[in-house]
Symmetry: C2
Subunit: 251 residues, 2 copies
Amino acid sequence: MSPTSQPSGPGAPGSPGSPGSDSTTVQDYVKVIYSATEWQDKPVTMSALAARLQVANSSVTEMVRKLVGLGLARHEPYSPVELTPSGLRLALSMVRRHRLLETYLVWELGYGWDEVHDEAELLEHTVSDMLIERMSQRLGHPVRDPHGDPIPAADGTVQQPDAHLIGLLDDGHRGTVARISDANPDLLRYLDSEQLKLDTAVEVVGHKPFGGALTVRVGSDPGREIDLGDESAAAVWVSTVGSHPGCNLEQ
Amino acid sequence: MSPTSQPSGPGAPGSPGSPGSDSTTVQDYVKVIYSATEWQDKPVTMSALAARLQVANSSVTEMVRKLVGLGLARHEPYSPVELTPSGLRLALSMVRRHRLLETYLVWELGYGWDEVHDEAELLEHTVSDMLIERMSQRLGHPVRDPHGDPIPAADGTVQQPDAHLIGLLDDGHRGTVARISDANPDLLRYLDSEQLKLDTAVEVVGHKPFGGALTVRVGSDPGREIDLGDESAAAVWVSTVGSHPGCNLEQ
DNA sequence: TTATAGATTTAGGTATGCCGAAATTTCGCA
DNA sequence: TGCGAAATTTCGGCATACCTAAATCTATAA
Ligand SMILES: [Mn+2]
Ligand SMILES: [Mn+2]
Ligand SMILES: [Mn+2]
Ligand SMILES: [Mn+2]
């Protein structure tokens, strides 16, 4: 995060799990700690946080110390970080904001799904609870964002879809695209150009040898076959509805 | 402004008069310097800025020094502050953002005109140029905000309505409400309850003695008469269309 | 079992912005 | 013309958040 300064968002300090009086930096750290274990459950290390937040390791050490002081995180020296219940509530509130904003930008203002992440990353800290709820209302209270990520309800409830990373599925497995990581806009544009969107039917046709590309049939019936590289295969989740046996779900 | 910190908004540093890489603090100072002379032209003093921004005089001295360094303002010691052409461009860009946001919140998300100011005050620093232009497009490129304040065009053009403070008009003067200061939400709610809205026809019926209240006929034909106190009379501007003679327009 | 590479924390410093108190300057009025 | 009140600036400090370099700890691999 850049060092320039600004007031933190509105919202009463009291409302349960709302951003309240936390700085935008605290909000981002907590949100990143949460989302690091959303689609895989390796515990979050300090250096993983540093990498995601694009700051030095020492900065993470300092901020995590602060989060612990605020009662938002637990941390033993030289160990991974965990959220407290209070930190989890804040994180869910931020995630709700982020994903509702993305959804609003796509459906109400004609943004592409590759254009919304950065805008939401900033707005999430600024928008009031009232604005968020009005947007949710206007959208008919959606439960997932344009990338398939679940939108936590205002009360903190989340319904995580039962999906698996396509790169870990065995040949012959089929299902529909349930989620695509929005980390890389270029990748989103590429997948879009290949007709691989949310809810598209897909089937794992085969693996190229030596950890190479993954061949996937896209679309219903005959479909088209495309090859996904490592990065693509690590960004697409497939719902296990009507799944075949033999899925490597450990790790 | 509170001391918590956050990245400043997006937008290329280059685009003419766009927020670019200026901190939200710089953006607010420049905007306040601009709007201080928008409806009256006393030069802006340091203490006036401090009062509007709710910071100490010494803080203003420091920030103004910085604005001068950035080429956004001119300032001789112990004198009022002025914007440079570059500062004016930035200010107009911020004002456009603020007013377009207010307008969007009212027309697209059902906000009341008394609820939008604080929300816009924060969002103006965070929203991208792209989002602003999409909102403008969605609204049909409005030229004034819910309070009657003109919305500068993307190229910096402003069409300031020809209006006068109702408190300075002589008895018998009539016209339509062209602008109501949004500084005080309570006042906005009061005026709203009295049917005194934008474009409402009004006539100055009389002045109570000793600088007291102003009696105003509201609405067309018979209309209703209401008494406006000092604060109200200093917040309502009336368009001079079909004006009668005798308007105290000096000062 | 013990080096030692890698992860993490500590130490020392920078940049923003803001504050109160203490100078300093200006300007109206006696 | 000169005095003092008001406005403005200077000075010393604080809080946040980040960084680099230098410890320090942990865990793996001889
Ligand atoms: Mn963010
Ligand atoms: Mn998303
Ligand atoms: Mn503002
Ligand atoms: Mn307004």
